[in-house]
């Protein structure tokens, strides 16, 4: 799904939720920011620098981190090694050797609560553990901007609350901006983000503080279709 004329400004340390139904262009937006695709038109700036056509491997060391909707840990590597990859090639990259990266990894593995599994190959984890591995790996990059694709899908509500608290705390401590893509878990939206951007068919529909955005009738319509009374069935 393409996106069209989406203007989006993200402040340092700000947490934004990108909301929209399937095919609204959320993943495309993420791919453009992380450099998986380049846009045909328009430009992307990061900390004042034009990164529109910069390859992804250069964006990560600048501070753009990402998690995937379906977690993509490096299966044969252990949890600890996965997270160490983040530390090794993220913003600390050039200053961090393997040994330091593994130390950093241990810290983040513990933060997400996977220390028991740290020496297991990531390929054998449960989906939730894979997701946590990915979160730890992206945090170990010490990103300035973290793009989270459905980070909490499939989680138990209680785990979502824990995750939200954790992400909020760490984002504030390390002043990480978070752009979280959320398809339906409003619980996560309300708890985590300060601002909500609603995408609809590739365009920006709403961009407002969380409370206002969720009450916006257009958002209700995008999600639920027309108000129920018009569907007399």
């Amino acid at each position: 799904m393409a996106i069209n004329e989406v203007y989006l400004e993200i402040d340092a340390g700000e947490r934004i939720g990108i909301v929209g139904p399937n095919g609204s262009g959320k993943t495309t937006l993420f791919n453009l920011i992380s450099g998986v695709f380049f846009p045909e038109q328009g430009s992307i700036y990061f900390e004042g620098k034009d990164i529109t056509r910069m390859p992804p491997y250069k964006r990560a060391p600048m501070g753009i981190g990402r998690t995937f909707q379906i977690p993509r840990p490096f299966g044969s590597a252990t949890v600890r090694e996965n997270v160490a990859v983040g530390a090794m090639f993220g913003t600390l990259g050039s200053q961090v050797g393997v040994r330091e990266a593994l130390e950093i990894a241990d810290r983040y593995v513990e933060l997400v609560g996977l220390q028991e599994h740290r020496n297991k190959p990531a390929g054998g984890l449960t989906p939730i553990e894979k997701k946590l591995t990915e979160v730890a790996r992206s945090l170990a990059m010490h990103p300035k901007l973290l793009l989270m694709d459905e980070a909490m899908a499939g989680m138990h509500p209680k785990d979502i609350d824990n995750m939200v608290d954790f992400l909020k705390r760490i984002a504030e401590q390390e002043s990480i901006s978070i752009v979280a893509m959320v398809e339906h878990i409003m619980r996560a939206v309300v708890g985590l983000v300060q601002r909500v951007v609603v995408l609809h068919q590739g365009s920006k529909l709403v961009d407002a503080p969380t409370r206002d955005a969720l009450k916006d009738p257009r958002v209700v319509e995008v999600y639920l279709g027309h108000p129920p009374e018009e569907h007399a069935c």
Partner: protein, 333 residues
């Protein structure tokens, strides 16, 4: 500090195997040729593993690097044999030329082919090997299809006796040495950032890119390393040992297939795997040839199929997983 040394423990079994092979070959009469063959298979397995095992890319044109390396040795000896003061150093120049030529070829091939993925890469590399062979034959480069026969020149350069020892003994020793160097480089890569980068790109290339890994750079490093080691092995095991080179013999895709089998049998991406794979492959090929000459491939094919389906991680891959975290595990990588 102990960590720094412990990092190199996995080299112990590798070097023990090579030492044992050498001692058997040296002391048991009539064994040297078999031992030399085993060392050759382990060495090419190790060299190929640095690329195939660590990146997951299959290069069907791999043998071209060995072929070019063979030419490096042949050209050095056949062109420089009359430079009297060089003497035995002509062999060293042969190795250097082999390394340089295989490196250059790998840069040329890598710069183009490594932009392709999976099957496309594999197919492109078959083309490179065949293309290179026909280029040499068709354009009559380096003697064309008549090849280069250089035993006479070697003898003239270093004397008859030295030439004989070089090709019957030292050529095999050099293979051992190259294998040892390959093992060290493999471990150095595995334990370093490059190893992490290669594992990441092997598992998920797109995710690796987004994690800040310059995947093309690391693939090319692995490719060049692997290719230059192959060039050196070619220079020694096919150049110095055989002392002649013909395009159809050194650009024979069969050897690439053997490399792949060795790496997969032993365990792709492991350190000890290709050594063990080389031993298993070399020994079974040898015995099957003795027991049922002519039918060895017929028997061997299903055995390989079964092993690869039953143990996709290879012998050492399975062992490394089983012993991870135990004291023994420190020695298996």
């Amino acid at each position: 500090m102990s960590d720094r040394i412990a990092k190199y423990y996995p080299l112990i079994p590798v070097y023990s195997v090579y030492l044992a092979l050498f001692l058997i070959g040296k002391n048991v009469p009539g064994m040297w040729q078999l031992i030399a063959m085993l060392a050759f298979y382990s060495a090419i397995g190790q060299a190929f593993n640095i690329f195939l095992g660590m990146t997951g890319y299959v290069d069907f044109g791999y043998v071209a690097f060995m072929g070019v390396g063979t030419y490096g040795m042949a050209l050095s000896i056949s062109h420089l044999y009359h430079v009297e003061w060089l003497g035995v150093w002509v062999v060293l120049i042969g190795f250097l030329l082999a390394a340089v030529m295989s490196t250059i070829l790998s840069i040329l091939v890598g710069a183009v082919a490594l932009r392709l993925r999976g099957a496309y890469f594999a197919i492109a590399t078959i083309g490179v090997n065949e293309g290179f062979r026909y280029l040499i034959e068709g354009a009559r480069i380096w003697g064309g299809s008549e090849g280069i026969i250089f035993y006479g020149q070697l003898a003239q350069a270093v004397g008859r006796k030295t030439a004989s020892i070089l090709s019957t003994f030292w050529a095999d020793i050099f293979v051992f040495v190259i294998a040892g160097v390959a093992a060290f480089i493999t471990l150095f890569y595995m334990k370093g950032k490059i190893g992490y980068a290669l594992t990441a790109l092997r598992e998920d290339e797109d995710a690796a890119k987004v994690m800040g890994i310059h995947v093309t750079k690391y693939k090319i490093i692995a490719f060049i390393t692997s290719a230059s080691l192959a060039g050196l092995i070619g220079a020694s095991a096919w150049g110095l040992k055989v002392t002649n080179v013909f395009p159809p013999e050194v650009f024979e895709i069969h050897y690439t297939i053997e490399c792949i089998i060795i790496v997969l049998l032993g365990g792709a991406g492991t350190l000890l795997g290709p050594v063990v794979g080389g031993l298993i492959y070399g020994l079974s090929k040898y015995w099957l040839t003795v027991i049922i000459p002519g039918f060895q491939l017929l028997i061997f094919a299903p055995i390989i199929l079964i092993v690869i389906i039953a143990f996709p991680e290879g012998v050492i891959g399975v062992l490394a997983r089983r012993y991870r975290g135990t004291p023994l595990g420190k020695f298996i990588a």
